[in-house]
Amino acid sequence: MKKVFFSLFVVAISCVFLFSCGSTDKDKGPIKLGIAGAHSGDLASYGIPSINAAQLVVDEINAKGGILGRQVEIMAEDDVCKPEIATNTATKLVSSGAHVVLGHICSGATKAALGIYNDSKVLCMSPSATNPALTQSGDYPNFFRTIASDDAQAKLEVDFALNTLNLKKIAVIHDKGDYGKGLAEFAKKFLEESGKAEVVLYEGITPGAVDYSAVIQKVKRSGAEAIIFGGYHPEASKLVSQMRKKNMSTIFISDDGVKDDTFIKVAAQYAEGVYATGPKDTSSNPLTIKAQKAHKAKYKKDPGAFFLNAYAATLAMLNAIEQAGTTDYDAVVKALREKNVDTPLGSIRFDKKGDAIGVGFSIYQVKNGKYVELK
């Protein structure tokens, strides 16, 4: 008897709740594009460009009369890159009827939010979440991204170190963070699998610490010819400067987090010769030129990080809706996988796992205070 009552109670709650949150009619009215990411706080500089990018794309589309005869509406929600807040953000976007979501920015927040989007059949495309598990684990069928995953980057770094530079002894160092450590783990794995080089040192350094000289001594002692570093530019510039000051010429190979002009500015003369991976240079693409010009015109400054990726993601999602002729989840996903779309990153479509085909990384080197792509 008790059980019956309980189930009745449960059903009652669900009914009232679902009724109250109102099933908005998804097939009429404007197409709602949710944008989630860090829009405030110390990571805002990664999140704001995605709003700007989406705004530019949407403005252009709306000016042409929208897609499928419907206007596109932007709903930007802040998640401060915290998983806990990201679930709130996702709930808000879902319950206000977002059809597709551009975001989130950080991998952790993305993972936390994806479950909610998935249950409500909302498609989510991130311009910047690079954690491999997001696409490769198969846990998140509704996830797509316009940036290559960390393992692709690590693979590129390792191939470059082994095949181009012919290195035999490599130290892998990371900053213990989600991004840096994940990347370093892949680098270590690929190095060990190749059998061509030895990982002589694998260490995590404490971000923000005042001094890395002990680790540097350790690198020196290990006899490593090169360091593969996973992490961001503040630590990288400290490491590089301290090494060069100690007359160590160890080769420094790093990732997208270091391929930032701030790195060159801070490390100054010591930055010369550092290798870093970064998204392929698409600055000659006409769409890129157009996007950047539009940004300059509207916001009076240079676009920030992941701007092009966000621009491409917005284009891809809206294009898929147009191709599918509906906002229906399955149809849109099908369109994303089958139809190519022209974006600043080139002509792209998506594979089964959600990674963009045609988006990749290349190696850059600091030459005369500038990152130059190595072909």
Binding site: F6, S7, V10, V11, I13, S14, V16, F17, L18, S20, C21, G22, S40, G41, D78, V80, K82, P83, E84, I85, A86, T87, N88, T91, K92, V94, S95, S96, S107, G108, K111, A112, G115, I116, D119, S120, N131, A133, D139, K176, G177, D178, K181, G182, E185, G204, D261, T262, K265, V266
Partner: protein
């Protein structure tokens, strides 16, 4: 009021602050781009703001002094509201009824988003109440409270997803036990563990961690205790970050299951259930904390806070008392950890930093140390306001910090000061 003397004082203060904030407020240097930004308008802002604020500052001080004099004459005025509530039953029950109706109607009227942020707020209520046991009642400043929060969250995450070495170990253990007893019964420990089992288990484990932390710090006085607990909090976070085999490192643990409510629910549908569960847990916590406060143990905690030496001289085992306080506080944090893992379905070490501890501490301080209602109000304010005032998010921590200082100076007892329970029995009995 506005005498020449006053204006002169405020003028000097504002001059001082203009001088003090000049380089940081006026000149913005970007040494990366070699640009310098002069913001002269900020001088005016700082000058006017400090001029006005200095009046308030002095006025507050005067009032505080007056207040203190009054206080020693008659009973605390601040508790007038609560006295009123206690004296007028109709108002009390009316208000209580309104709160209950509001709490029940909340998820149905306001929808999943509002409900979700209310769940976060309620988690902070429980965290505040838990820390209140340690800081407010027992007077032990714990700056590493977030460690137990993390312990709870990871307990559920690991046992539920069966990841890492613990998942592996449980699998081996289940195989071994099955072999040993010739059954398949023990497979159950290698399955995802149910929320309902882990919730009490996590409280227990967090409580034990509280004891383990408690032992070495027993001999330490207040300030030393603060730094050591802070260190412990950092150690736990660093271990979670570095020990990939245990916790999956900085990438965190994803896909943590929601509790089983007897029907299959998706993540949006389960929100009201989690909300009601959380309401229940808050009520449970309030019940327990209230009971503890008027108990033998609770009195011992307060005596410990008031005067450790006298406390010991009156026959209280301070060692045991401190340890129970740590363990009790920690177990509530453990419970909240499980709830946050359930709510977010993903956890990583970056969610458990010192800042989190500081926010929980400011909840307790703002609300009023030792006061249950105060802590609840403090938690609701500090966790809901930022959600609604996203635009001011940048200023959130600034305001937090300033609030902590101002509260300590002008209202150290918090929004709602703790009203000492009186024992009514005596009056009736007239022995």
């Amino acid at each position: 009021m506005l005498t020449f003397e006053e204006i002169k004082k405020s003028f000097l203060v504002s001059l001082w602050f203009i001088f003090l904030t000049f380089p940081i407020m006026v000149i913005r240097v970007n040494s990366n781009e070699n640009t310098i930004d002069w913001r002269w308008e900020n001088i005016a802002i700082v000058g006017i703001a400090s001029f006005v604020l200095s009046f308030f500052w002095r006025d507050f001080f005067r009032r505080k002094k007056l207040g203190q004099k009054k206080l020693s004459k008659d009973k605390q005025k601040s508790s007038a509201l609560i006295e009123l509530l206690n004296s007028k039953k109709e108002i009390k029950y009316g208000l209580l009824g309104a709160i209950i109706t509001f709490a029940i109607a909340y998820p149905f009227v306001l929808g999943p988003y509002q409900t979700n942020i209310m769940i976060s707020a309620l988690i902070f209520v429980v965290l505040g109440l838990g820390l209140n046991i340690v800081v407010g009642l027992a007077g032990l400043l714990d700056l590493g409270y977030v460690a137990f929060y993390a312990v709870g969250a990871y307990t559920y995450a690991i046992l539920n997803t069966q990841s890492g070495i613990i998942g592996h170990g449980l699998l081996q253990l289940s195989l071994y036990l099955n072999d040993l007893f010739g059954t398949t019964f023990f497979e159950i420990i290698a399955q995802p563990w149910s929320f309902w089992i882990v919730l009490p288990l996590a409280m227990l484990i967090a409580g034990i961690c509280g004891l383990i932390l408690g032992f070495p710090v027993l001999r330490l006085r207040g300030d030393y205790l603060a730094i050591v607990t802070l260190g412990f909090g950092e150690i736990i976070r660093l271990v979670l970050e570095n020990w990939n085999e245990l916790s999956n490192g900085p990438s965190g643990i994803a896909k943590i299951a929601k509790p089983n409510f007897g029907v299959s629910l998706n993540s949006i549908e389960s929100i009201p259930f989690i909300y009601f569960l959380m309401i229940f847990l808050v009520l449970f916590t309030i019940f327990v904390v209230n009971r503890l406060q008027i108990s033998r143990i609770g009195r011992a905690w307060m005596a410990l806070r008031e005067d450790e030496i006298a406390c010991q001289a009156m026959g209280i085992d301070t060692t045991k008392t401190k340890l129970t306080a740590f363990a009790m506080g920690a177990s509530w944090a453990g419970m909240c950890g499980v709830m946050i893992a359930v709510k977010t379905s993903f956890i990583n070490p970056a969610s458990f930093t010192f800042m989190e501890s500081a926010i929980i501490l400011s909840i307790v301080v703002l609300g009023g140390m030792g006061s249950v209602i105060g802590v609840i109000i403090g938690a609701l304010i500090l966790s809901l306001l930022p959600e609604y005032l996203r635009a001011f998010d940048d200023y959130r921590m600034l305001v937090f910090g300033a609030t902590m200082v101002i509260m300590m100076i002008f209202r150290p007892q918090g929004i709602i000061s703790n009203v000492r329970s009186t024992y009514k029995i005596i009056r009736k009995q007239k022995i």
